[in-house]
Symmetry: C2
Subunit: 345 residues, 2 copies
């Protein structure tokens, strides 16, 4: 049995020498067996929010159209790597086979697992799509996937519904980063605070900044804004479009004595919020872009153009122990747990 590369380069068809994520095409032939791989029987695809939205728009809101686009992408690329948004998502299934060199990871056939790695680099073969659920950006499928040695996966806990776990693990990187970037007394602004990653960021910020700190949520969808208010984790919730930089600035400014926030998190799943996030931050503050719809140049040139000396971060979807961190955060708050369960299962 060939070992295969821990980074997965043995599955790259084109271009030669590329790593799996930037590659145009992966080999999804699972009759080939590698000792470093774990092979999973795939049951559910949890598509990245920006990607799902793009496919919905491209097919006029028709779920069958989304299913057809996914099947086409996987057939052409050997992975669900949306060619327009560049993003993926993750998946849920049952371990079918564990390569000899992957045995030390502790998984055995039959384990229910979720990948903590983007679909944009996971070799995937699809037999068919059983259902499309736009509300949770999920598809039920029959298929197989390979997990490389460096790709994190997690066993599904049994105290929560699987679909909720999947939805949470998809944005598992968010809360741990917030925990690192703010502390007691800080003011934190969350753009898109009523969405999935936004709720986790706001909840984590609340427990970090404490009583003396301030958490400000910005959310455009009134129902989500109401849900957020009901949780009681924000000091202020502004119902407005985060793409309007001047409106965001004018909402945050009076709440921070004109100073701006210490930390701004962008969790909005549409393009065009880079500058709003920058304008909401204080001088030498931090702006963390979690949303995949962020434009690198809009952020870099936006800050430069208005002479704002802030630290700009690209959201890293991986952090040590991020799965456990995020599941614990939700377990620790019954209202948050209930809201998440109601929405994402």
């Amino acid at each position: 049995m060939p070992a295969g590369d821990p980074l997965g380069t043995h599955r790259v068809i084109a271009p030669k020498g590329a790593l799996p994520q930037p590659a145009e095409r992966l080999d999804n032939d699972f009759s080939k067996v590698y000792a470093t791989e774990i092979v999973v029987d795939v049951q559910t695809l949890n598509v990245d929010a920006a990607s799902f939205r793009q496919m919905e728009e491209a097919s006029g809101g028709d779920p069958d159209g989304v299913a057809a686009l996914v099947l086409e992408t996987v057939k052409r690329r050997g992975k669900q790597h949306n060619p327009v948004t560049g993003s993926g998502g993750m998946l849920l299934g049952v371990v079918e086979r564990v390569g000899d060199l992957a045995k030390a990871r502790g998984f055995v056939p039959g384990d229910r697992v979720a990948t903590l790695v983007s679909l944009s680099l996971t070799p995937l073969w699809l037999d068919r799509v059983l259902a499309v659920r736009p509300a949770s950006a999920q598809l039920d499928v029959v298929g197989k996937a390979a997990v490389f040695l460096t790709a994190p996966i997690a066993r599904i806990p049994t105290d929560m519904p699987e679909r909720l776990v999947l939805a949470l693990l998809d944005v598992a990187g968010a809360a741990p980063q917030v925990a690192r970037l703010c502390g007691p007394g800080d003011t934190v602004v969350v753009l898109g605070a009523g969405g999935k990653s936004g709720l986790l960021c706001a909840a984590e910020a609340r427990r970090r900044v404490g009583e003396k700190g301030k958490v400000i949520g910005v959310e455009s969808f009134p129902t989500y804004a109401d849900d957020l208010r009901a949780l009681g984790i924000c000091d202020h919730v502004a119902t407005l479009d985060a793409r309007d930089p001047l409106a965001v600035r004018d909402a945050v400014s009076p709440l921070t004595e004109g100073r701006g926030a210490d930390l701004v998190l962008s969790c909005v799943n549409v393009p065009g919020v880079e500058l709003a996030a920058i304008l909401a931050a204080r001088d030498r503050g931090k702006v963390y872009y979690f949303a995949m719809s962020t434009s690198f140049t809009a952020a870099a040139l936006g800050a430069e153009g208005i002479g704002r000396d802030v630290d700009l971060f690209i959201g890293n979807g991986y952090a040590h122990d991020h799965a456990e961190h995020t599941l614990s955060l939700v377990r620790a708050s019954r209202p948050l747990h209930e809201l998440m369960q109601r929405r994402y299962t």
Copy 2:
């Protein structure tokens, strides 16, 4: 005289409510006078490296083709905002008029200045292009530009040739960020270390990490690699393509006992180096993407895909006192000063 908005929204034609950088089109009619603006007679455009390269490729290497593309963009958008790369550059000229509300900034008509703000948000009107200089990505032009109240500009010092100052100020944000992100004893990798921003990053890293630290330069162009070696600021210079993540990893790994670098700076002006930068960094290290050709999703999903817990930064072109910091860095080293002068004037 109308005041105009400090952020420059009074010059936005489309879309309504946008800020000048993301706007599709700005008003470059300078018969309209605003009290917050400084109007400059433009002499030289210093085009962003990624943008210049794209225009060169699009016109088959013909300088007249680059001039035609610039004139077309400025006519259509009212600014030199490359529609393909999304990037700009900066300019040099003489102050023509200072609005009443901008007088406190201390500039007077006749001052020779450089804008420290991207051309992608600077209202610009061009009469003609006099010359195109591919070696320095500069164009000599006749035209006018407006500088908003929040847009940093700098008086040109008289102890250096103007074109050198312009070239340095274009990447003035680089060295100050390096100074913040590393300290004594650290190992720093610079990708594209022989280029303009790369040289400044390597020089700054050298003085920050000290004797016990290590500076590793990666540069694909052999002449630039030789220039870099001759400066003596790097402990190691590897002549290789930074787009090859495995080659970069294999070069850095033995120099760091397999650990990876504390800080990796990407200064390479081509797409596709995101993953190489991540692979060169240690666990919990920092990766700073200065190059405008960086893809947000490639960096975010790349790190997640290989389970690397690193902090990823978007290069902010502005930092407090960045112009003075960068000019001082070059003044402090005669060999660096001479190399920069030889190349960029």
